[in-house]
């Protein structure tokens, strides 16, 4: 019997998993959209976004709209690949 695959620890955290799931569904989302849908604080979300960005899974773009700063996030090709691998591993472990 083949050994069960390892789950990517960086993706497995609830908030980081939620972030990547949203970014897989949408092309580009704003910080506030992530915060409101995931239901976490600005500080906590920022920490997780930075971790994903440092790993090269997402990229951020900063701009100004009506003089207010706005940050949007997109998933990278690497992030997409890792997310797909994570889902496959998860399904394999669950036997689906």
């Amino acid at each position: 019997m083949a050994p069960l695959p390892e789950l990517n620890g960086l993706i497995h955290g609830k908030i980081r998993l939620a972030i990547l799931s949203i970014l897989i569904g949408a092309e580009e989302v704003q910080f506030t959209y992530l915060r409101d849908n995931i239901g976490t604080t600005d500080g906590n979300l920022s920490v997780h976004l930075t971790k994903l960005e440092d790993a090269g899974y997402i990229v951020s773009t900063k701009s100004f709209v009506k003089k207010k700063p706005m940050t949007t996030y997109q998933i990278t090709d690497q992030g997409r690949r890792e997310f797909t691998k994570y889902i496959s591993a998860l399904k394999q472990i669950l036997g689906e």
Binding site: H12, A18, S21, I24, G25, E28, V29
Partner: protein, 194 residues
């Protein structure tokens, strides 16, 4: 890590992907606006036939400016962008530019009778394509109905042909727009309770 926790992770992924693709924008009223605008223009133009060109030009331009303004505003206010949303936007912007060119060109070359024909065909195309992209059966059916009325308009003339266009505008713009508004309202309510 136990099985329940892993299943919970899968549920979280599904929920978040669904949420990110949910559309809570309001477009139904734009359909109603065009339907009412068309009928208003047709009514006024039949009352004042000598000013037909001006009436049609003013009414359609007003609807166009309102729709374009709303489209630009919605895009700016959007907090998430999806490929599907961009595709639908591209389809309708292309339709708007093509219809404007057709209306302007046919009007300027004294071929006004061709305008409803082009409109029926183009509305069939744009609704059918949007319905396919959105997997929205009602809109696919509306697209087919526009095409059927295109054939009806080709095969008839005079009051019958005019009646076909007005009937289809009522069904495909006003009724369909109201139906969309009801769906959008339900979606917003669902969003507020989840």
């Amino acid at each position: 890590m136990n099985r329940d926790e892993l299943v919970h992770r899968l549920d979280l992924i599904e929920k978040m992907i669904h949420e990110s693709r949910r559309n809570i924008e309001s477009w139904g009223w734009i359909f109603v606006l065009w339907g009412v605008g068309y009928i208003l223009a047709a009514g006024l133009a039949s009352l004042y036939p000598t000013h037909g060109g001006l009436i049609w030009g003013l009414t359609m331009s007003t609807c166009g400016v309102i729709s374009a303004g709303w489209g630009i505003r919605s895009r700016r206010a959007r907090v998430q962008h999806t490929t599907v949303g961009r595709t639908i936007g591209a389809i309708w912007w292309s339709f708007a530019v093509s219809m404007f060119l057709a209306g302007f060109g046919l009007g300027a070359t004294q071929q006004q009778a061709m305008i409803p024909l082009v409109m029926l065909m183009m509305l069939g195309l744009v609704n059918f394509a949007s319905g396919l992209v959105l997997k929205f059966t009602t809109q696919i059916v509306v697209g087919v109905l526009w095409w059927i009325s295109f054939v009806g308009y080709l095969l008839t003339s005079g009051r019958v042909a005019f009646g076909i266009v007005i009937g289809m505008v009522i069904i495909g713009e006003i009724f369909f727009g109201i139906y969309l508004m009801v769906l959008e309202r339900q979606e917003r309510r669902r969003g507020a309770t989840t």
